[in-house]
Amino acid sequence: MGLTLSEKIWKSHVVVPAEKPGDNEIIFIDMHLIHEVTSPQAFAGLRNTSRKVHRPDLTIATADHNVPTTDTDKEIKDPIARLQLETLAKNCEEFGIRYFPMRDKNQGIVHVIGPEQGLTQPGMTIVCGDSHTSTHGAFGSLAFGIGTSEVEHVLATQTITQKRPKTMAVEVEGTLPEGITAKDIVLAIIGRLGTGGGIGHVIEYRGSAIRALSMEGRLTVCNMSIEGGARAGMIAPDETTFAYLEGRPYAPKGKLFDEAVEYWRGLQTDQDASFDKTITIDATHIKPGVTWGTNPGQVTTIDGCIPDPDSISDEHEREAARRALEYMALRPGTLIKDIKVDTVFIGSCTNSRIEDLRLAASVVEGHHVAKDIRALVVPGSMRVKAEAEKEGLDRIFTAAGFEWREAGCSMCLGMNPDTLSPGERCASTSNRNFEGRQGRGGRTHLVSPAIAAATAIVGHFEEPKNI
């Protein structure tokens, strides 16, 4: 029987196979991405045991979670954040790891810089101490988040020990309606799967609607695989992938590039392979998604309304919906478009790439954000920022009343000064609407950059066509 894409990549990276099915295997890691938050204890562990970093040349570091997005030319005010960033710089220097610190022209969110540098390539195994590592699967690589103990393990051995994951196909067939984005696709998928539906599985996104996406769109879809509980998400590489990679700083050059492409073309799920689970989504019916609750599976569409928990049959989901509505201060039956917001955040590893910014800018151009709305755009990387400025997007945003920031994770998780206040409601292009995620007591609604931009202009959830 044939193999799925994830099985092929897994198989080609086994260093020590399982003794019997279901056992752990030792898997080689082609690229290890690190950042300030989940690495300090791992480096401390190496020091305590007098171990070295086995492959510094397959390790790359950036500062993203903690960094402020204003006044980056000054010293960081928060002493704990500053110490964590200094610790990363010191660790990278001591262990010989390339590091893109704050202010570097290559700095940015770890899941934005991997692809833009060409460090993320088809067929690779990629890990990072961050659950959104699934993003890199957009290139047909097997990429997943790990905890700090595993970060230490990868630093010391350039391998991980894990059990072979199960496989799931998510088929998205048909042509997307006008104005529907990758974010809407993935919100629709998570709405179907629920937050735990993908546990134990690697998802392969397939179908004509997925193949039609740009690399940026594919990155957005794969990014949120973990929100459905999946260990990873991936899309088989094709001409779109190869064209994106060619000429990137760390992509192979000349003859090596041709050799690589030849190999990459084989990275497809075999015709006779089977998945452990398959779900199918009709792309022609997808509408702009808006979450109403406190997990990404609690989602409806822009023309929808807040559901009535009493109408939910599953007892756990009903109780979770009740709690979520209480936290979100929302009533059943309220139209999504009637919900007013205080803040709009365009950024995060889900939606902070150049295409996302172009889309948002095209919506806000010639308009101004509604009264009393705080709106910020945080580019995913300094390279994205530079490109956007070259295209004049920054001027469109600032003319419309948006704040134009430096690169980082920012308000996605509120580890830097960009946070929501208690009760503040935010339309956010990020990936998690958990309680307190963007700041204690903050209320998050996940949307696409198009919806976020339109919402900023009118002050309540809205589609671009209606502003």
Partner: protein
């Protein structure tokens, strides 16, 4: 890591599903560079509420967390495991536990006890009606037991994780025994794969 064979004690019933790691330990706590001291931040956004189960006197001293379905979802932060362990929990029972959390917990000696839905329902009922009830998690037999009720039910835990807990294994040490296999694999890697060009060994 210390070996864990049995966990015995009282359970604390957290009747919520989809508890994510942002709830277990909010991101403001993640700026620390140490591995200890996270217990003070455990469920910190809920702890202000005196009615929150962690604040209820009858459940003080519990060392087993009995949680709703789909526990530990979201971020990969191992800090969530450190916070639970630092607070005093040695095992987490739930009918569904998120992958990364499960993986992280066995590497820090916290036992992830994934039980059937009906087992979880029974445990919640039993603990809510008698908070003093003693529960035992037997890692070797993969059983949850309530000796006073003569109750036992299996839980799932893959063999590698079970072995890691029972023997208190140092995973890195174990992998480094295969140093030669790793070296041989490295020689076979295609030339086009990226390197950062620094610190080449």
């Amino acid at each position: 890591m210390k070996p864990v064979v049995f966990v015995t004690g009282k359970a604390l019933p957290l009747e919520r599903s989809d508890v994510d790691t942002d709830q277990i330990i909010p991101s403001e706590w993640l700026k620390r560079v140490e591995r200890t001291g996270f217990g003070a931040g455990l469920f910190s956004e809920w702890r202000d509420n005196p009615d929150f189960v962690l604040n209820q006197p009858q459940f003080q001293g519990a060392n087993i967390l009995l949680a709703g379905r789909n526990f530990g979802t979201g971020s990969s932060r191992e800090h969530a495991v450190w916070a639970l362990a630092d607070y005093g929990f040695q095992a987490v029972i739930s009918s569904k536990i998120a992958d990364i959390f499960k993986n992280n917990s066995t590497r820090s000696g916290l036992v992830p006890v994934e039980v059937a839905e009906d087992t979880a329902v029974f445990l919640f009922q039993s603990v809510l009606s008698n908070p003093e009830l003693e529960i035992t998690v037997d890692v070797e037999k993969r059983l949850v037991e309530i000796p006073n009720l003569g109750y036992e039910a299996p839980f799932s835990l893959d063999e590698a994780a079970q072995k890691r807990l029972l023997l208190g294994l140092d995973d890195i040490g174990a992998t480094l025994e295969f140093e030669q296999d790793i070296a041989a694999f490295e020689k076979s890697r295609p030339e086009w794969l990226p390197t950062t060009g620094v610190g080449k060994v």
